[in-house]
């Protein structure tokens, strides 16, 4: 029989026992809905977790440190790579890292102690330099005021706790000016690697207040309570901990970085970049392994949710078997007539198979719609709960397009499997006996 005829006959047969077939299809829909709802929850939570983590910059960055030879081998040197031999993490190295493929930016971790002068009063705190890219990290979402206008703007963003120290009305601080006192490093002219420390002061305009402690990249800026543009922080040449270490080691006169953060275009590039950097002679590590573990965790999580949801689908499958077996009993004579008119065993089998498939297909579509509605309901309920606690809204359930297609396909396949036994039984009916059946 042609596909069109098969479909027509199958749909006609299903319409014949409307109530029973609708109930069976509804059973399939409920099974698929539970599957879709569970998996959409898994997908939603995974998306939520990964998007937060990706935005934080933890998974698309490689943290680079100098590799020191602890066993008396050759000293770290500046210059071209020597097959993984230790190298100095200096400006030249930074430029090289910037030129690596799939690297967006390379920036140092700059954090130094300072004394803030505001309203004639001193406030000791820690200054951190923030790259412009940290604006996308999500940490500055919902901040009061604005983000730095440029890399070199003499502007500052205050962490809320520090802002509270300066004024009870934190919002009024935006637009005011404060000054920071810090120790500038000036290399000695004799090239010994030593340096002198000169006290300096700089005026900065407060342009914003942020609630969270921004963490951009591994190694982060968590301790900074006064945030300034990275460009400004670098230009200050403020003395940092590694300056003292370099001086004690008697290294070259030019300054080195204690660490650099390399941002990759995407997490998929991180592995390769990390390898290249290690070969260049630096220490490098990333949190990609943690991200992989996260994926494994959610994979297992989805599997468990899917298994539980599949139980509902298994029950629905039994419903299909039952409905079709009943249909064979009812339509015994009809099967006999079809065979007498020339239907082959295969035709009869395919017809019943099709009926199972149509129920699976319709149940699949219904299930996806139900499942999506359940997901919406979960999102709504969660957000009402979060709103009640003054927390930002989130999407804990998400139905991606692939889930829609997979759920429908799964439903059809399961239904076809359920139709195997009834279809085979119908096809084996003896036409003479079937025609005699009253």
């Amino acid at each position: 029989m042609k596909l069109r005829d098969l479909t027509e006959l199958a749909v006609r047969n299903l319409r014949e026992a409307k109530f029973r077939n609708s109930l069976t299809t509804l059973g399939v829909a409920v099974g698929v809905a539970s599957l879709v709802a569970m998996l959409s929850l898994g997908v939603g939570l995974q998306q939520l977790a990964t998007s937060r983590l990706t935005k934080s910059g933890l998974f698309d960055t490689v943290f680079v440190t100098p590799k020191f030879n602890m066993r008396g081998g050759p000293q770290a040197q500046s210059g071209s790579p020597q097959n993984g031999e230790p190298r100095l993490l200096d400006e030249e190295a930074r430029q090289e890292l910037t030129k690596l493929p799939n690297v967006i930016e390379v920036f140092p971790q700059i954090r130094f102690p300072t004394e803030v002068r505001f309203d004639e009063k001193p406030y000791p705190t820690v200054v951190a330099g923030m790259p412009q890219s940290s604006q996308q990290s999500g940490s500055f979402d919902g901040m009061v005021g604005a983000f730095f206008s440029s890399e070199s703007a003499d502007e500052a963003i205050l962490q809320i706790e520090f802002a509270k120290e300066l004024s009870k009305d934190t919002n009024s601080l935006v637009g005011k000016t404060l000054s920071i006192r810090y120790a500038e490093r000036q290399s000695l002219a004799d090239g010994s690697g030593g340096f002198s420390i000169i006290p300096k002061e700089k005026q900065l305009k407060i342009i914003g207040i942020v609630e969270t402690e921004p963490a951009s990249g591994f190694g982060g800026f968590g301790n900074g309570r006064l945030l300034i543009p990275l460009g400004v922080a670098e230009s200050l040449r403020a003395t940092q901990v590694n300056d003292l270490r370099d001086a004690v080691r008697g290294g070259p006169a030019k300054p080195t970085y204690s660490s650099l953060t390399v941002r990759a275009k995407s997490t998929s590039n991180v592995d390769a970049i990390e390898d290249v950097i290690k070969k260049m002679g630096f220490g490098a590590f990333s949190l990609l392994d943690a991200s992989k573990s996260l994926k494994i965790f959610f994979g297992v999580f989805d599997l468990i949710l899917g298994l539980f949801a599949s139980l509902a689908l298994a029950v629905a499958t039994l419903g299909i078997v039952n409905t079709l077996v009943m249909a064979i009993l009812e339509r015994r004579r009809e099967i006999g007539v079809l065979k007498a008119l020339g239907a082959s065993d295969g035709d009869v089998k395919t017809l019943f198979f099709f009926e199972a498939g149509v129920m699976g297909f319709l149940g699949g579509i219904g299930g996806v719609i139900f499942g999506w509605l359940i997901g919406r309901g979960l999102n709504l309920a969660t957000n009402i709960y979060l709103k009640g606690r003054d927390l930002p809204s989130i999407e804990i359930s998400s139905v991606p397009v692939w889930l829609v297609f997979i759920a429908i396909a799964f439903s059809v396949v399961i239904s076809l499997v359920a139709g195997l036994y009834p279809a085979s039984r119908a096809s084996k009916l003896n036409p003479v006996e079937a025609l005699r059946y009253e």
Binding site: K2, E16, A340, G342, A343, S344
Partner: protein, 245 residues
């Protein structure tokens, strides 16, 4: 025992055909060593009392059942050797069947019932409508194509079944007690219709009946069965003057 008009080619030939059933430990010989040749274009009536084996023999010739032994030659093949798929093809393309209880599908209209064999034979949609209309016109039901079987009289239902049986232009038409569920007048109308179709389409008709007078009035040959055996076989004068007009 076997006599065939020399001038006609055989439509179907049975050689020592037997069909046994086992019921517990008892073996029932429903058809026992029957040999018979039916020429093309004949109207053969299989007569016999209830349980004589005539319907079983009809089912064997129609490819609905397989013989325990013997050979049934039809359309150049031995039905006993055919696979299940080949038998289905034989039923679909070579024969048509009419039953005592009509066996129309109740939820389909007349046109849809008649169309069913065309669906199974994968005839193109464009051709189907014309063939269904032609078949229904032959049985004079072309005005009631959209009615359902339950809206028709017994005679009309049997005419629909005949239309369904001939829509695929079969070579042989098997009729199992086609008048069994009809009053005598309607029964004669149906047989007249079969006769008319036989002469216009030139098909062979093999009819099972227990009504001897009807058989003698319409058939060209009578085969009488009893206890599974072919008891007698004789040529009949065939349709009397006025029959089939």
């Amino acid at each position: 025992m076997t006599t065939t008009p020399a001038s006609t080619q055989n439509a179907i030939q049975l050689d020592h055909v037997s069909r046994y059933y086992t019921l517990g430990t008892t073996s029932i010989r429903a058809v026992d060593d029957v040999s018979l040749s039916i020429g093309s274009g004949e109207f053969v009536a299989l007569l016999g009392s209830s349980g004589s084996g005539k319907s079983t023999l009809l089912n064997l010739m129609a490819g609905l059942d397989r013989p325990t032994s013997g050979a049934i030659h039809a359309d150049g093949k031995n039905l006993a050797d055919l696979s299940s798929l080949e038998l289905a093809r034989y039923r679909r393309n070579t024969i048509g069947m009419v039953f005592q209880s009509f066996n129309l599908l109740p939820r389909m209209t007349l046109a849809e019932n008649v169309e069913l064999p065309l669906r199974l034979a994968e005839v193109d949609h464009d051709e189907r409508d014309a063939r269904v209309a032609d078949a229904l016109q032959r049985v004079k039901l072309d005005k009631r194509t959209q009615h359902r079987p339950s809206e028709l009289s017994g005679g009309e239902q049997q005419r629909t079944a005949i239309a369904r049986a001939l829509v695929n232009r079969p070579k042989i038409l098997f009729a199992d007690e086609p008048t069994g569920n009809l009053d005598s007048v309607t029964g004669e109308t149906i047989l007249n219709l079969l006769l008319e179709i036989k002469s216009s389409l030139g098909m062979t008709i093999i009819m099972v009946t227990h009504e001897r007078p009807l058989a003698e009035k319409y058939a060209t040959r009578l085969a009488v069965m009893g206890d599974g055996k072919l008891l007698s076989e004789s040529a009949n004068d065939g349709p009397q003057s006025g029959v089939g007009q």
